[in-house]
Symmetry: C2
Subunit: 373 residues, 2 copies
Amino acid sequence: MHLSAHHPLVADRTQDSRLVQAYLGRRPSVPPVWFMRQAGRSLPEYRALRETSSMLDACLQPELAAEITMQPVRRHGVDAAIFFSDIVIPLLVVGLDVKIVAGRGPVFASPVRTAVDIARVTDIDPDTVISRGGPIVEAVEQITALLAQESERRGEPLPLIGFAGAPFTLAAYLVEGGPSKDHLAARGLIFRDPAAWEALTGWLAEVTGRFLRLQLQAGASAGQLFDSWAGSLAPEVYRTAALPASRRAVEIAREVTPPREATIERIPLAHFGVGTGELLADIATLGVDVVGLDHRVSIVDALMRMNAPVAVQGNLDPALLFAPEPVWQEALDRLLRQGRAASAHIVNLGHGVPPETDPDVLTAIVRRVHEAS
Amino acid sequence: MHLSAHHPLVADRTQDSRLVQAYLGRRPSVPPVWFMRQAGRSLPEYRALRETSSMLDACLQPELAAEITMQPVRRHGVDAAIFFSDIVIPLLVVGLDVKIVAGRGPVFASPVRTAVDIARVTDIDPDTVISRGGPIVEAVEQITALLAQESERRGEPLPLIGFAGAPFTLAAYLVEGGPSKDHLAARGLIFRDPAAWEALTGWLAEVTGRFLRLQLQAGASAGQLFDSWAGSLAPEVYRTAALPASRRAVEIAREVTPPREATIERIPLAHFGVGTGELLADIATLGVDVVGLDHRVSIVDALMRMNAPVAVQGNLDPALLFAPEPVWQEALDRLLRQGRAASAHIVNLGHGVPPETDPDVLTAIVRRVHEAS
């Protein structure tokens, strides 16, 4: 399946989509809505597809990744697809030994704790993520082709959002060797050996920036950097030990060469982290167009702290997915009103879709967002 | 061991302690310092004592609980003991079936999810925590006697801080059946059945308020309410679904009858939760004297958001315990300077002592706090 001829077409058309317009800070007449982790265990069709392959394998099988990415787009009518991937995929692609352990998450065969461990990792050429990134490119090409079909059916352009983890969160996984509650091994390393930490996160910025750029180059219309665990850092630590590498990853992603025939002015980038209320003034300096908020901070407070021309994305409390309809409707309507204070507002949850979510509630939320406007 | 004759004496003397003075908003010439979870796995003498008994058993064996409570006081020279207990102890005392599962935490035999489950729990008379609270009273009496000895040795009064969990965090444990990452079952119940939720947290306020009052009545000089998971709530949810029950627990704890011969004007109460930066304006209305901060929020921002005459406690980043000495020293000195903006500042970590902490670092921090002033 060779689809590269589609890029310019897709890229061009999605510029007028609700999502890309909002990501570029123009308020579309109908606000866009999508859900973090919309492709995933809340969908029976996802669980059926995933029965026969592991998470990381699924991410690297282009047809499977493409199909999984499309499932929520077809089912819920969301305004964007988000590339189905895992935060550790670029590290797997460059050759690190990592597996997803059920009930735990990604676990690395060798945690990276000392300067020697770090040198072993940073010796890998970051361009490896490109040279071995064939399955990523192919998946993105398949998705944009499928989105073009879906767009035709719906009569409106549908963009793909690229997916990548931020250097701090990736470093936390590497140093801990897997998920952890408070990332103390990683956060301790920041203080214990700042030079080694800088080398590690600098390298991760090169790798994850390229991973995102690869997706943009292959046809994704926007990108999102996930710094899941940034909220565990004190603001001054975030500023010195996490932000510089995130900013570098954003820079690298921005080096994407627009397809020849396209008239793209800018491929917008978004950022999301959990519990980042205290970090927003710093996150606003990252160079992204959109800042995602979790449910703990109000849009009003967030805009005040950022004081920057960014669009905001979020931040419906995922717990509302288990509320009676009138309760979540009222909260959603309030959120939509709050969003009007921003240059543009993209509706999303304050966190990923919980696996136990009734998918019909997500569909109903999409409908209400589209009708409420 | 009958020690009740000690209460008035102990209570009187500790009024002049650094900790109680600071808790009452008077700035002592030397700022007090203690550490959340100072009695625990970071100490080899604790690990030795705990070898033969389970966590919950240890909490209910007065001599053992007293000895564990005293260990960090003797070793580190901290300015207060914190009652060695577990957040679920009052629930165990009133008869619920709960065990600590290694590597996981407290697990309840039957999660409390429906209105029927909740009624089964709330049918228990909250006064049961008092009628069956003998081991708690005895432990507190033993601790205050041991603190009196230690005070004599040091030549300064040493208070005991009572310990209790806040209703929201206790409810989250009960509804989830144990620890969880995002407390979605509990947070969903808030929306799904607000009346049942109110009944549950209302009952928990009665129980945990009495549990704290029991300790104060038995000789503790101050109390702290731990709402470990409050930070998972959106501010408006905290305000309506968690704060009222916490306020009620504080009220109940305040009903303590001062010992006849004592001249106590007020037994100060503190509050602590993780990730509560967005909740501080609400927490400031709880009726406590001291607000604990985790390391994610600066004291300066916290004071601005609270705008109330409370003392602040915290908030050294626990990751600094793994930093070279000059690094934590500089951070500590900065923290001490920031603390001067508050009516009083009690030095503590932004979270509990990690088990892997080198205890000598804690001792060195105490020394520096006492010398820096």
